[in-house]
Amino acid sequence: MTVQPLLDVKNLTVSLPAAGGRQHGIVRDISFNILPGEAYGLVGESGSGKSVTSLAVIGLLKKPLRTSAGQIVFKGTDLRTLSSRAMRRLRGDRVAMIFQEPMTALNPLATVGRQIAEMFVLHQGKTWKEAHELAVGALASVRVPAPEQRVHAYPHQMSGGMRQRVMIAIALACNPDLLIADEPTTALDVTVQAEVLKLIQELCTARGTAVLLISHDLGVIANMCQRVGVMYAGKIVEERDTYELFSDPWHDYTKGLLGALPRLGSRQRHGRSRLVDIDSIIDDRSRLTERLCFEPRKLRAGAEVRP
């Protein structure tokens, strides 16, 4: 028996209108799916289209960017056909999102308790009083110490790590089916990052929430996700099981990306060598990006990307 995917993105294209009525493909004809409870990672460098993909899924693309083709099937419904009202109801309830910068994503003028409680009022029709109680519980679930007091705190009174925990509490308040995390720990210190990642992982595993994790950090992706899509110039160039991807990358771009990373411990084991320069593997990279079309060059057989 095959499991129905929770999110099935089919041939998604996001484009930017350019001069002369032409369209620049920012995301070009990509397809991937996420199973219920699965953690799926999209990894890539800036400009690869990974963040735009996540915004397209949740329907928050900013003009003039727009989804120009494809389907985003979530629990059997194509989100592209939903009205903006229905989409609003879905966001925060069934699909939630956390952003990179917890300071700007939180309202500085409202207590964190109110911002969490709002989710219960908005999506579950609770009264403010009930919602406030639930907010204390939500804050406790993300392991913020002394939640009864902290619900009254304002975002600026908390550290970056604590604010990101609050964001997680807001996102997971209504037990969504899918959590989209766009570079959730990039602004945080290493040790705080580890705690926040572990928290996301544990909470989502316990609740069966699927995760779409967007990151530039191969380490974060490796530690969090079961499957990974590597994005480059608006395309998914390789999609694999995480273990396979890291142990035996197929696509030259993936190989380049892994070789470009100074891996902890590799100097001790293998001595110091120069890191891989992707430009020497994929020639004419800049021209490729400019033309925004990517033909996998020295691609091994079998590594073709779906579909």
């Binding site: 040790t191 530039h216 490796a222 892994l258 100074p262 411990g265 891989v276 992707i278």
Partner: protein, 319 residues
Amino acid sequence: MSEPLLDIDQLHVHFTLGGGLLGGRRRTLRAVNGVSLELHQGQCLSIVGESGCGKSTTALSVMGLQPPTSGDIRFRGKTLIGAGAPDRTDRALIAQMVFQDPYASLNPRQTVYSSLAGPLRLHGKRSRSEIDERVAMMLGHVGLLPEHAKRYPHEFSGGQRQRIGIARALILDPQIVVLDEPVSALDVSIRAQIINLLLDLQEKLSLSYIMISHDLGVVEHMSDRVAVMYYGQIVEIGDWRSIFSTPTHPYTRKLISTIPDPDAILREGIAETLPEVHPPAGMRFYPEDVSMPDVYAEPPPSELVQIGADHQVRCRPAG
């Protein structure tokens, strides 16, 4: 061992907060709290730690951009602090800096040429051809073309800007180059190119680096010696191999084991293979609890204890 190129001796940088008319209670933030470091010719010394640990403040003090509260910084035995310190112009020939943010580190109103030629003129180069030659050579060193000199910073990508930043830092032939998170704002592939460039330049021009970083992978790859800082103090220091093969202080171990390491998934991550360590006899690590420091209190006395040929860890007497 030969005389160090740079000798930081018991550096303290304290900031007074509050006070004033309405400021409430005066408190002293101990950003750098008794840091001693030596940099030798041709080495790369890295200072690692998380935000607020004082690594950047230490670097700024070396650059003369942050006056220390107490302590001394000596270059080839001559002090850089207080009376007898060289003036700004002479100091420029001692140390230069590569900044973290390639977008904020170049003057948007200056062409690459004037960013690079200005310092040469300031330091007495008058002949146009000599300046042009030096600028072109420097651009060549960092992998750019002579015609790039005519352009403005916004015409370059982040990686290219960082190359320009490196060229600017090297244009006066400084004795020391301070790298402040030189690659953390860059994409993975660009990061690799800049790291390679920095290593090539170090070899070619026998440069001495002080690198400030939070990225342990980069630090291991580039450094000869590593100092781990935690809230104003060095908690562990040694040659790169000792630090990464037998990290000893609880904070170093925490850093190494929490770094998201893609090799962890291959069951060969460094965190799984850390050897077990114990504090030296009669000692315990200081600080032992690395979760909630009080940055305002004066820390209890502690010392860096030798545990290897070039490997020290901060401890205090047990009991």
